[in-house]
């Protein structure tokens, strides 16, 4: 399991160091600094093994988070944990920056003590954590409150506390899609897929049981459980989804057996699901690059973008970026 967790600034100074296991010594802190942060060549893997000690790192702006271990840990779990740690910190004090970390180091230690025990990740849902790890010092809690906290932290629904009340019950749903396209220099589409996220903001009282459907039934194309579109409003085909993943509040076994997405949502904003489709993608734009080598040191690049949607629609905030490295390669 995770033997220790360190946070460094861009210079390699330690801001936070928490050791969970006896096999990790103070020298591990320096080993990472010397071999990764100050390495002459950019490190080419997020996992580094230095003297039989493995370091996992992620970078957020100019802050390095490193988890260290001497055992054969679940690597995917360590990275997921590091991301989660970033989420939790952001939820508590905003952007992850050197200043924010220094200002909140006591809080971070408290969090690290709570969400990692002996290197095993524990409940890391901010909703639950915020009920008992607060920046205002200790609140005097009644016995009922205490047992409510502990049952929530350890219970089946760790992401939501009981007794939430809103005068107005509201639920917002955003569907954010990003179209990814890979095109050959000849303009041929090599691969295209849409990865979508369904983000929910829930302000609901109590323990609301929610159900969510896409065109009533999600068609997982690969499993051949296709059903015709039942809404029939737009007359379109039902969506062919290649794969989807869900927030931990969704009952996966129910989804697997009945194809229904049912859940008790966390309070506030969260990402309910992600999905991926590759079929029938209508690209919003067509990009036509024209590259002409004018001379040995001169290059002319013309990029034409054509919209593929109706004139009544309007695209905003369009940004075109060009990877300058690409030109070097052309030389």
């Amino acid at each position: 399991m995770i033997g220790g967790l360190f946070i460094y600034n861009h210079k390699g100074e330690v801001l936070i160091s928490r050791v969970y296991r006896d096999d990790i010594g103070r020298n591990a802190v320096d080993a990472f600094r010397v071999n990764v942060i100050h390495a002459r060549q950019q490190v080419r893997s997020p996992v580094t093994n230095i003297a039989r000690t493995s370091f996992f790192h992620v970078k957020r702006s100019n802050i390095w988070l490193a988890a260290v271990t001497k055992q054969n840990v679940n690597a995917a779990m360590v990275f997921e944990f590091l991301y989660k740690m970033c989420d939790v910190m952001t939820a508590y004090f905003g952007k992850i920056s050197e200043e924010n970390i220094k200002n909140n180091f006591v809080l971070i230690y408290e969090l690290l003590d709570e969400i990692l025990d002996f290197g095993y990740p524990q409940n890391s849902e901010t909703g639950a954590l915020k009920t008992f790890i607060t920046q205002q010092g200790i609140k005097s809690q009644t016995k009922e409150e205490q047992s409510q906290i502990t049952s929530q932290v350890t219970g089946q629904i760790g992401w939501r506390r009981e007794g939430i009340k809103y005068r107005r019950n509201e639920l917002f749903l955003d569907v954010l899609e990003s179209v990814n396209l890979l095109m050959s220099p000849q303009g041929q589409v090599l691969s295209a897929h849409v990865s979508g996220r369904v983000v929910m903001k829930s302000y609901l009282s109590g323990m609301p049981e929610c159900k969510f459907g896409m065109n009533d039934k999600i068609v997982i194309e690969k499993q051949g459980k296709g059903t015709a579109d039942e809404t029939g409003k737009s007359g379109k085909q039902s969506i062919a989804i290649d794969d989807c993943t869900f927030h931990q509040c969704v009952r996966l076994s129910k989804f697997d057996s009945e194809r229904s997405i049912s859940f008790i949502p966390p309070d506030g904003e969260f990402e309910l699901m992600r999905y991926r489709t590759t079929k029938d993608i209508i690209l919003p734009f067509r990009v036509i690059p024209l590259v002409r080598e004018v001379g040995r040191t001169k290059l002319e690049v013309k990029v034409v973008i054509k919209s593929n949607f109706k004139p009544s629609l309007l695209a905003q905030k369009i940004e075109v970026r060009q990877n300058p490295m690409w030109f070097c390669a052309l030389e």
Binding site: P46, H57, E125, K143, T150, S184
Partner: protein
């Protein structure tokens, strides 16, 4: 309030100041001081001198302050064990606190203080906390047991905490279950033998229920634990798989990967004919692809695992090539991994796209990536024959760019292409030679030299080219030196007249002026070869080389199987077993995939062998003669003795095939080799030198010794001492004892006939019943003189294997009828299988690899050979005497792995992998054969040969 100011206290005498502040009466000031102490501790300052003062602050109602003090304690208690005792009272008191959060905090912190005296006091509070009414305390206490075990394992066992921990697996709270599982798994890892986790269908059911309810992390603990379980049959495996598959839709990639691990492992047990098997394969692909939309670090972990999965089960992702195309903004580590997988998935169907992509990549900026892309083009050429032409022309285009590292990389792969398609693309040699001067990397230089030497007769100025390299001979790396030596010898053998001087020069450079033993030895060998017998030298040095296989960097099958059991973990990221990077006892437990259900019988240990087969040397007299009489006399009517019940129908089919008329087809399919190999000239004679003349420097040397070793094989295989087959009292005074032997390709049955009766015996004749391998007497039993009472005659009966075939049970059972002037007697005996191992049973390396891959895993059987204190080399030579040939020897993580092949008289190949742990007298033998029934008997043969 900003806490960052605590990081900037650098003045002198601050320890003294802090001391004063810590002892202040004001609570606020105290807290501030402790914060400063923690900040100093973080940046690495030694603040242990403040120990008593900080501990004094422990007694407080302020939870935040308490946590800070605890943090300090965890860091420094070890260096101040005596002082740490001061804290015990507070801990014990806190463990009784009405607030569950404080109880848990105390027990959690106490477990982190690694001081013996404190540990003693921890036991009682821990016992209470394990049974606490609050789940939060219980889940913390569960982990604490693992902490305590890490400090003092004996104490944990003595105090009975392990049992309490086991009980927690049935706890009502899912998080308690998950933590208990995590703790038990960790403890079990350091006690491989203890049956701590004791997984059984009931406890598995509990875990699967908890899986639906606990946190994402808990799900990971449970799935990782499930992966260690071995279901009892395919039905149980399937039902677990069904309950695990929903996890593939979890947002947490680690949950997904752990679920994939369980499925990949249990899938081994499912029959491929099952509908469910196909469904499962289909269900695995989408989540694996989705992992590639995760953050780059996770993508990296996922790609390293997909690399393993693609090698184990290529069918899962064969249609998903496009998702592995690199994006311009992928981090370099993701790009490199994607490239690897692209090559693995390349096939005739998608090669055009792949090649177009690779060509693009070769113009990228990152040097490593470009190199890998160029190399990938070469690998495509080797893998997909149809694309070879286009790959070569792409490589030539790239050489024209004159970018130094691109040219060098291209030359290295072109050498491999020559090895795969000899005499096809030699027209490009001229272009290659133009770039001779720009080569500065040893690998590229060596490759170029190899090409020049190999095609010396077609390159007019080959001698000049090689001579130019020779000038700086001593500055070259060993790789280049060895290659240069071989190339010049080749050149000499092809154009002896003009190059005599050159070859003498290089031989003297290699033998006299070099300190490198490899180089010197190779030089001497060439020298002697050339001086004693130039014709032989030509045959050896210019021998036809075996073709290289397409997959050059496959992970060795056993390692791959082991790594599949570690999906998601560091081992799968490093592609190394945990023993390679984990210190101490942890992770030493060797994991392996469950055996296929079909072969479960042969995989059992010999003691539990079905039908209780008697040891092979012991003869069994058949009591009921009547039944057998029919068998022997009406050779065609005898119903086959029913074999041991075989689990799946496919295996049953194979059995019939093997022993019925299907022999021919078996033979043919073996000689034809695996379809993956293909290509012309594949059925190279086995006399061809098996190794390569390519870069690996020791190749040539090993070959020569190999040839020498082959001679020893003629001495004949192991012969067991004679045993009594037919006791005198059962055969009216005739006692027959005997054994089987094989000498220089001839099998014989060595018999000792003793007349213990009072009358003279004469008119001997012998006949065999039909048997599994068609053993039959090659000549009549020749006993010329009558056998007088108390006289013994020794006779060797030559046997052949062209008799009628019928499957026997056991497979090596031989029923014999002996007739004399008195009566006909019947007995049966078991012959050791190694008499059937033929002399040309040595398989070529490449073919071995291909065949091993080609034989389905369910045909693999594993055995243990115990108490055999031989070294790998001794084993190898001993087995070679009985026609079990070592194809390759490798050392993997300190273990010697012998890859061996043998062929039976009926053309069945058996491939073996023998794992030898130095210092341990037990070997692990894995056998793979298209006819898995023979494995059991091959194993017995191994056992017999090695122990005699």
């Amino acid at each position: 309030m900003t806490d960052s100011k605590y990081f900037t206290t650098t003045k002198k005498g601050e320890i003294f100041e802090l001391k004063a502040e810590l002892n202040s009466d004001k609570k606020e000031k105290k807290k501030e001081a402790v914060k400063k102490v923690i900040a100093s501790m973080t940046v690495g300052k030694d603040v242990s001198a403040l120990f008593p003062d900080v501990v004094n602050c422990m007694q407080t109602d302020n939870l935040e302050l308490k946590k800070l003090v605890y943090l300090y304690l965890m860091n420094y208690a070890k260096s101040q064990p005596d002082m740490a005792i001061m804290a015990v009272n507070t801990f014990v008191k806190d463990c009784e606190d009405p607030n569950p959060l404080i109880r848990a905090l105390a027990v959690r912190t106490m477990g982190c203080i690694r001081v013996d005296k404190i540990t003693e006091y921890l036991c009682e509070p821990l016992r209470k906390c394990l049974k606490d009414e609050d789940p939060y305390v219980r889940k913390t206490a569960a982990v604490c047991v693992a902490k305590l075990h890490d400090i003092n394992a004996q104490l944990v066992e003595d105090q009975g905490f392990l049992d309490t921990l086991k009980d927690l697996i049935s706890d009502s709270n899912p998080m308690v279950v998950a933590n208990a599982v995590a703790a038990l798994s960790e403890i079990a890892e350091s006690h491989p033998s203890s049956n701590l986790l004791d997984l059984n269908p009931q406890s598995i059911n509990k875990l699967l229920t908890a899986l639906n309810e606990c946190t994402e992390w808990g799900q990971i603990f449970i799935l990782d634990c499930l992966a260690n379980y071995m279901p009892k049959d395919d039905r149980e495996a399937q039902s677990i798989c069904e309950r695990v598959t929903p996890r593939l839709s979890h947002a947490n990639s680690a949950v997904v990967l752990s679920a994939v691990k369980v499925l990949m492992k249990f899938m081994e047990m499912l029959s491929k004919d099952l509908d469910y098997y196909g469904t499962l394969l289909k269900k695995l692909a989408p989540p694996l692809v989705t992992l590639l939309s995760a953050e780059p670090e996770l993508q990296y972990v996922a790609l390293r695992n997909i690399n393993l999965i693609v090698q184990k089960r290529p069918e899962i992702l064969k249609h998903e090539m496009k998702v592995f195309f690199v994006k311009y903004n992928d981090p370099i580590y993701v790009k490199l991994e994607k490239l690897d997988i692209m090559i693995r998935l390349a096939s005739q169907a998608n090669i055009a796209q792949v090649l177009a992509e690779l060509k693009e990549y070769a113009t990228e900026v990152d040097v490593d990536f470009v190199r890998k892309a160029v190399r990938a083009i070469g690998r495509c050429a080797i893998k997909v024959e149809q694309s070879a032409e286009r790959c070569v022309s792409t490589l030539l285009d790239l050489i024209q760019t004159k970018v130094n590292y691109v040219v060098q990389e291209a030359i290295v792969v072109i050498k491999d292409i020559f090895r795969k398609y000899p005499n096809k693309y030699e027209s490009v040699i001229a272009t290659l030679c133009e770039n001779l001067d720009s080569l500065d990397e040893p690998e590229a230089r060596a490759a170029m030299i190899w090409i020049v030497g190999e095609y010396a007769e077609r390159i007019d100025n080959a001698d000049e080219l090689l001579e130019s390299f020779l000038e700086g001979f001593h500055d070259e790396s060993t790789q280049v030196q060895l290659q240069l030596l071989t190339a010049i010898v080749k050149l000499f053998l092809k154009k002896p007249t003009e190059t005599q001087e050159l070859v003498q020069q290089v031989l003297s450079l290699a033998t006299q002026d070099s300190d490198n033993p490899d180089l010197r030895d190779r030089g001497y060998i060439y020298w002697r070869l050339l001086s004693t017998d130039p014709v032989a030298a030509k045959e050896v040095v210019l021998a036809e080389k075996p073709l290289i296989s397409e997959e050059t960097d496959l992970i060795e099958p056993t390692l791959l199987d082991e790594l599949i059991c570690y999906i998601g973990t560091l081992a799968s990221v490093y592609h190394k077993p945990p023993t390679a990077f984990v210190e101490g006892s942890r992770g030493i437990v060797h994991k392996s995939l469950p055996p296929r259900t079909g072969s479960s019988e042969s995989a059992e240990s010999p003691d539990a062998a079905p039908s209780g087969a008697p040891p092979s040397e012991q003869a069994a007299v058949i009591p009921t003669q009547g039944d057998l009489l029919g068998d022997l006399l009406n050779l065609d009517l005898g119903p086959p003795v029913s074999g041991p019940p075989v689990a799946t129908s496919s295996v049953q089919m194979g059995a019939v095939d093997l022993l019925g008329g299907g022999l021919d087809s078996l033979l043919r399919s073996d000689v034809g080799g695996s379809p993956a190999m293909g290509g012309p000239g594949f059925t190279a004679p086995s006399a061809v030198m098996p190794a390569n003349l390519g870069p690996p420097p020791s190749g040539g040397l090993g070959d020569l010794f190999d040839l020498a070793g082959g001679v020893g094989a003629l001495s004949g295989s192991h012969v067991a001492p004679k045993t009594v087959w037919l006791p005198a009292m059962k055969a009216k005074g005739l006692e027959i004892s005997g054994t089987f032997s094989r000498q220089v390709g001839a099998i014989s049955m060595d018999l000792l006939l003793t007349n213990k009766a009072l009358q003279v015996m004469s008119d001997f004749a012998i006949q065999f019943n039909r048997n599994s391998f068609g053993l039959a007497p090659a000549a009549p039993l020749q006993i010329h003189a009558p056998l007088a009472p108390n006289q013994t005659v020794e006779i060797s009966l030559p046997l052949n294997t062209v008799g009628s075939v019928m499957k026997m049970d056991p497979l090596n059972n031989l029923q014999v009828a002996v007739k004399n002037n008195i009566d006909v007697f019947y007995f049966s005996t078991l012959y050791p299988l190694h008499i059937l191992f033929v002399e040309d049973g040595k398989m070529e390396r490449q073919m071995f690899l291909a065949t091993w891959k080609d034989i389905p895993n369910e045909n693999e059987a594993q055995f243990q050979i115990k108490d055999c204190p031989l070294s790998a080399d001794a084993v190898s030579s001993k087995l070679q005497g009985s026609n079990i040939f070592t194809v390759a020897k490798r050392n993997v993580e300190g273990q010697d792995m012998l890859y061996q092949s043998l062929k039976l008289t009926n053309g069945i190949w058996v491939l073996a992998e023998l794992r030898i742990q130095p210092g341990s007298p037990s070997f692990t033998l894995s056998l793979k054969c298209r006819a898995p029934e023979v494995s059991q008997y091959v194993y017995q043969a191994y056992e017999t040969i090695l122990k005699n």
